[in-house]
């Protein structure tokens, strides 16, 4: 490499020999950064696909099968995050944060979406982080279980968690509109309640959070508005039932008036 030519020219130069070390240090850092960017892109794409998969939940009969498929997909994403953790082993994670923050936010979005669909609650930062513990460097490779059982952990930052949850609200809004379209009137009311809680949470945090959160607040407010509008429409139209051929409705569309049977 060029440095050798240099060094040959000034064999005694102390300056050149330290700069050779600097060159290596910088290159190693940049290479690591690049690798992290690439893994992060993979994490983003696979998380997005998981979210798409989860939206199919309102249109398939066997929701459980779909959810377990989502589990599998997220497990693959988790493995990718394991690679990130591997790269960050012994590093200050904030040093390379910009490289992988988009991917992690998308993962939070996907994981919290799955969690909501399954449990109708908000996954906590702790729950997310608890899943990002990796044992050994090749956790999947079970034959090697005798190897070093040193636990490797990845810690999602509160900011990334918040940003992921902010994006989650957009997906919840989509889920809400789909639910109405599929004749499920229970889910929209549940979702409006849940979204309102998240909205109130974010407005409680206000401008003390990271700058990007404030930017996403507007979209969040819009999503909440759409969900509230959907509930409003359901209520308004529901008001008409008693006046027109009520029996008919009961017989043909019982699901509509029995809120306990919504697709949970």
């Amino acid at each position: 490499v060029g440095q050798d030519l240099e060094a040959r020219a000034n064999p005694a130069s102390a300056v050149l020999s330290v700069f050779k070390v600097f060159q290596q240090e910088l290159d190693i850092k940049h290479d690591k950064y690049e690798r992290l960017v690439k893994i992060s892109r993979d994490v983003t794409i696979e998380s997005k696909r998981t979210i798409f998969l989860l939206h199919r939940v309102t249109s398939v009969p066997d929701a459980e099968a779909l959810l377990s498929e989502a589990d599998t997909k997220l497990e693959a994403v988790r493995q990718k995050i394991g690679q990130i953790a591997e790269e960050l082993r012994g590093e200050d994670i904030y040093q390379f944060h910009r490289a992988f923050t988009p991917g992690i936010q998308e993962f939070v979005e996907a994981a919290s979406f799955l969690h909501y669909i399954r449990h109708r609650s908000l996954i906590s930062l702790e729950e997310i982080n608890a899943r990002l513990v990796f044992v050994g460097s090749k956790e999947l490779d079970n034959k090697d279980s005798a190897g070093s059982p040193e636990a490797l952990t990845f810690q999602v930052t509160p900011s990334d968690y918040l940003l992921g949850v902010a994006d989650l609200t957009g997906e919840l809004m989509r889920l809400c509109i789909s639910s109405v379209g599929n004749g499920d009137i229970d889910t929209p009311f549940q979702l409006s309640q849940f979204l309102r809680q998240i909205h109130d949470g974010f407005s409680y945090i206000g401008n003390t959070g990271p700058y990007e959160v404030s930017k996403k607040l507007h979209t969040l407010r819009q999503s909440l508005g759409k969900v509230e509008d959907a509930c409003y429409t359901l209520r308004v139209r529901g008001s008409e039932i008693p006046k027109h051929m009520l029996a008919d409705v009961f017989s043909s569309r019982s699901a509509l008036v029995d809120p306990d049977e919504g697709s949970a």
Binding site: K48, R49, F52, H55, R56, S59, R174, I177, S178, V180, G181, N182, G183, A230, T233, R237, E240, I241, H244, M245, L246, D248, V249, S252, R253, L256
Partner: protein, 227 residues
């Protein structure tokens, strides 16, 4: 070759490129004009009086698609076929509109989803990229989504026109379409945004069907169509 000669050569290339684009723009304008005319023909189906004339309107639209084919044939001559995506942006918008119009005509005629192949045939273009000027999958899908939104409007206007069975058929059709789209992994692009709109169309149609149900009009419609 001197630097000056090289830049002259490049300038030649750039000028040629601009000329090609200019030519494309002109043909695309005529296409847009025809597309607006087809739309005007088909818009009448939303009128109470227009419902009976659907076959006639479709025929009329089919005729205008001849013009479209001629215009697209001209468009094809304006640039090398393997550079489709270089100039894609110029006709993407109108092609999506035309895919929509094709899909709408086919739906009005047969209440079925037009295939990508059928659209290609109506427009006189290819389905597969390597065979020439073709219909990009995304553009086909965009056209289908525009139709979905038009159908939600049609469902509303059908009721106004006193046709209570059509909304129910539209509902079934749109639901199937929705299931189809759910299979796709879209990027954060205009298509994704349009697809988000589909949920609102589905919702709107569901509301129409609901309104018919609680008034017993849906049943009436079914029994009519059963006959």
């Amino acid at each position: 070759m001197s630097v000056t000669e090289m830049f002259s050569y490049l300038q030649g290339f750039l000028s040629a490129d601009q000329d090609v684009r200019e030519d494309i723009r002109k043909v695309v304008q005529t296409l847009e004009q025809t597309a607006r005319e087809i739309l005007t023909v088909l818009q009448s189906v939303h009128q109470p009086s227009g419902f009976k004339e659907i076959p006639g309107k479709c025929a009329k639209a089919r005729e205008l698609f001849c013009t479209v084919r001629t215009q697209i044939a001209q468009l094809k001559t304006k640039f090398p076929v393997e550079q489709y995506y270089r100039f894609h942006e110029h006709w993407r918008f109108v092609l999506q509109r035309l895919a929509f119009l094709s899909a709408f005509v086919v739906y009005l005629e047969s209440e079925s989803l037009v295939t990508r192949g059928e659209v290609a045939q109506i427009l006189g273009i290819e389905v597969v990229q390597d065979r020439g000027f073709h219909l990009d999958l995304e553009d086909y899908l965009a056209g289908v989504l525009i139709m979905a939104s038009e159908l939600s409007r049609l469902a509303v206007n059908s009721v106004t026109a006193g046709d209570y069975s059509r909304p129910i058929r539209i509902s079934n059709f749109i639901n199937e379409l929705d299931s189809g789209f759910r299979l796709l992994n879209l990027k954060n692009d205009p298509l994704r945004k349009r697809y988000d709109g589909l949920k609102y169309d589905v919702k709107k149609i569901e509301e129409v069907v609901y309104d018919l149900s609680i008034r017993g009009l849906a049943k009436e419609a079914e029994s009519v169509s059963d006959k």
